[in-house]
Structures are given as C-alpha cells and as structure tokens.
Amino acid sequence: MTLQPGGGLLDTDLIRKDFPILDREIHDGKKVVYLDNAATSQKPRQVLDAMNAYYERSNANVHRGVHVLAEEATALYEGARDKVAAFINAPSRDEVIFTKNASESLNLVANMLGWADEPYRVDSDTEIVITEMEHHSNIVPWQLLAQRTGAKLKWFGLTDEGRLDLSNINEVITEKTKIVSFVLVSNILGTVNPVEQIVRRAQEVGALVLIDASQAAPHSVLDVQALEADFVAFTGHKMCGPTGIGVLWGRLELLEDLPPFLGGGEMIETVSMHSSTYAPAPHKFEAGTPPIAEAVGLGAAVDYLSSIGMDKIAAHEHAITEYAVKRLQEIPDLKIIGPVTADDRGAAISFTLGDIHPHDVGQVLDEQGIAVRVGHHCARPVCLRYGIPATTRASFYLYSTPAEVDALVEGLEYVRNFFG
C-alpha cells in the first residue's frame, strides 16, 4: 500500500526541490534516503542563500559599529531574533537568547540557577527533577549542578510503553524542587510528553520549569506561552537551520533576576577593573561575538518553515509516522522501542531487529543508500531501562515520503536475510 497525497501529506515533490542534498546519489547511483532527521535536518537553498548573502554583502561584527556593514549585520542578527520570537510566540524579543545549541541553552539555565541568589538558588537543601528519557544534554548539566551544590537529583521513570511514569508525581516534585527540566518530544522514543500535568505540579510547589524542545520546535507549532514553562531550549540545525546556533527562551523577569554565566564583550553595561554591570537580557547572556551568519540562517529557516506552515508540517509527519509505525511492525522480529502507535508521538522511531546489532543494521542499510542513526542516541539510560545495548532509529521530516518508508522496510528485509 502507498499513502496518497491529500491524507495530510505535503507536496514533497515541490519541497524536495528546495533541498539540493536530497538529489545526491551515493554508493553507485543510489538516491540518498535521508532518515536521520532527529540528528540533524537537511538545509533548504533559502537558508544557504541567506547565509551566503550575509557573508558576501553584509559581513561585519554586530552592535556598536557605525559603518554601513556593521549596521546591516546588526539588523540581520537582531532581525533573526525577531523572527524566532514570532515563531515561538514569545511575548518579547528580549526573551530570546541565542546560544551555540540546545546543550548550551540547557547548561546556561543550570549555571544561572547554580550561581543565583534566593529564591532561585539551587543548593544542598533543594532538589532537581528530570526524567529517564532525557538526552544526555539534559542529564549531565544537572548531575554537574547537583555534584557542585549538593542538591538532590531526582527523575521520573518510564513505563514499558515508552511513556513517562507520572504515577508518583507528588513524591518526585516536592516543595524542595527548584527546577523541573524535561524533554517535550523524546529523541529516542519519539514520545510526546504531557506538559500540562508536569507544569501544574511544578507551579503548585513553586518550581521553575525548563522544557527541552529540540525535537519539537522543528516539527510542530511551538508556543512558549501556551506551554507555560519558564524556559524553553532548542537548536537550529534540526529545524532546517545551520549548526552553531541554538535558542534559550526565558521569561523576562527571570532573565532580569538571574545572573549571567559567560562573561565577556557585549554582555556588559560598564566595566571597571574592580567590577562590572551587565547589559539587559538577552545580551547579558550573549558574551562575545555571536554566531551571526548562523542566526541569519536560523531566521531564514523559520521563515521557510512558516511559509509552509508548522501545522501542515505536523500533519505531514503524523501521516508519515502512522504509515511507518504500521509498516515497520509488519517486519518479523522488529520491535519498536517507544509508543507503537502514532498517537502522542513524534517522527523519530527507534527499533531493534531480532538480535542483529544496530551497527550492522545501519551499515547494511547504508549500502542501500538509506541513512539512519544507530547507537544509544545520547540517551543511554533509556537503553538501560529497556535492557538493550542500542537501537536503530529512523526519523522523518517535512520532505520525507511514503516511498522512503517503503525503501526502509525493504532495506530492513534485506538486512534480516543478510544476517539470517
């Protein structure tokens, strides 16, 4: 069976023309089937052109310059901030901090809280809450903070179905909790988490909430006001933008109260040899020359995604995911690690194939031109939880097609026969 356009699917023939790399042939003329979008997305020509145009016409360092190029560069960089603010429905552009990636955004919050005064300060009397399905980037910064401050690190476990076990939510999030940090969409399981329930409980006890939206921002409408979180982190390169640019959104009153982490140029108001005062947010958190071209690229990426429509992209991926989940389960010995339906799940699907090691699965798929990711996907605790060393993960995006799902299924049948 094949899905017909119309069932929520986008016109991928048209969209794919924007992505030069999708025309690339590998391994003796096989058109690349790129199913590694949860690791990084491909970039449309519009993004590449915007970055090239910046470098070819307007390159200069931002802020304080009095020449034309510096003014243009500043307008482009700050313009990208406006675009991102609109894309996530931020109440104020000043709430959008540009970072290097989502990891830096998450580390930034951990360090703000570690150095903060009361009432935000994380110390030995307080608790930090995460979940067992976090990417390492939302585990390790909190382990570091807990080790340095003596705070207690707690987490929600997982159900056998690949969802958060919130049955003990009142014991996990308590009056001692200072921060609850969790992933909106799991990069390994694909699970979409119930934000509202967690935010409610955090608000009850006065804890801050940080949401890792790295796997959400590229795929559906991200409305930071609707989430009611205090911070939201995501990265540019998974959403058609370049590497080297990430975002931390934070509520303005928090960004005003919390201390800076990195010190340097651009984040100051005045500096003397004895002490300094700081610029208002977001610049307080953007020390040094920022990734200017990358911000411009991210601005072009959100323009591109918005022109298609995030709701349409979400519908497309839902249709593809529904089809993929169904077709994959037709393969004997294939076990999906994570939700086995398309309900409340994103377009990243992890699985095991009998006892064939994922590295072998990935290698033989590659020989057929199919790019998937294999390993623990920087979420090793999830692999430990389900008693597996690693998974193979196929992940889809706005340019993915039902034919690519079919190619994956055929490829996996070939893998089974090869090692069978």
Binding site: H357, H359, D360, Q363, V364, G375, P389, A390, F419
Partner: protein, 145 residues
C-alpha cells in the same frame, strides 16, 4: 566489508565464554555500546587462554573470535607482533592491500581489511584487541616473569 569469514566468526565464535585467567578487563566502545569482558591466562611467556564474553556488532564479536583463534598458544612476543600488524591494517584507512606475508601473520584477520575504510567501525574491530593488550599488561604485572 562483511566478508564471509567475518560472518562465519560472528555466527560461530571461537573460544567464547569466560574461563580462568590471570587478569580480567572490561572494555566498551562508547559510540555504539559494544562491550567485552576479557581474561588472559599466561603460562610463562606463552598465552594459555584468551576467554571473553561480550555483546556488540558483528565486527566486534567476529574480531574477538578471530583474535582468540590467532593468539591462543602463541608466545607473547609473537602475539604482540601480530597485534601490531593488525593495528597497522586497521589504521590504514583502506589503503593497505594485505600481501601474502601479512596474510600469513594475520590469517582470518586479513578479512577485516575492508573495515578499515569505515572510520566508525575501526573501533569495533579493535575493541577486543585493545582489551587483550590491556589484560596482558595487567597479567604480566600480576605474575612478574
């Protein structure tokens, strides 16, 4: 890359299972989660046994099997030389065409020549060999000659 020799060793590994040893090490390949627990039993300067248990991809598991077949019963000096040749082959980025002399030293292990073209998989092939080197060094410390 997946030579029949490799697939044979993967499906029918030689010397698998942990037995008595002078030293035990546990090595992992963090990029893909391959793991091996390996023991070395020495009899003076002769390798009496290399026993192992592990999980991982076909390359890592087959490599351990090939190594067991190659090294057990050899004198340490010769085994170290074999290990050196295998390391050289695996670090050759696919540019080294094994000749008859190399084939004589490495036997089935020459089948891994193709793996050296894949940077992500070289570590898989070397995992057991590095574990053996480490365990041997420890065993020598335990039982000074």
């Amino acid at each position: 890359m997946y030579q029949d020799v490799i697939l044979d060793h993967y499906k029918h590994p030689h010397g698998r299972g942990l037995r008595d040893g002078d030293a035990e090490v546990h090595h992992v390949n963090p990029t893909c989660g391959d793991e091996i627990t390996l023991r070395v039993k020495l009899d003076g300067q002769r390798i009496e046994d290399v026993s192992y248990e592990g999980q991982g991809c076909s390359i890592s598991q087959a490599s351990a099997s090939v190594m067991n077949e190659l090294l057990v019963g050899k004198e340490l000096a010769e085994a170290q030389q074999i290990q050196g040749v295998f390391l050289e082959l695996m670090q050759s980025k696919g540019k080294l065409e094994p000749d008859d002399a190399m084939e004589e030293v490495l036997e089935d292990a020459v089948a891994f020549a193709g793996v050296s073209k894949y940077p992500a998989r070289v570590k898989c092939a070397l995992l057991s060999w590095m574990a053996w080197k480490d365990a041997t060094a420890q065993a020598l410390k335990e039982t000074p000659a």
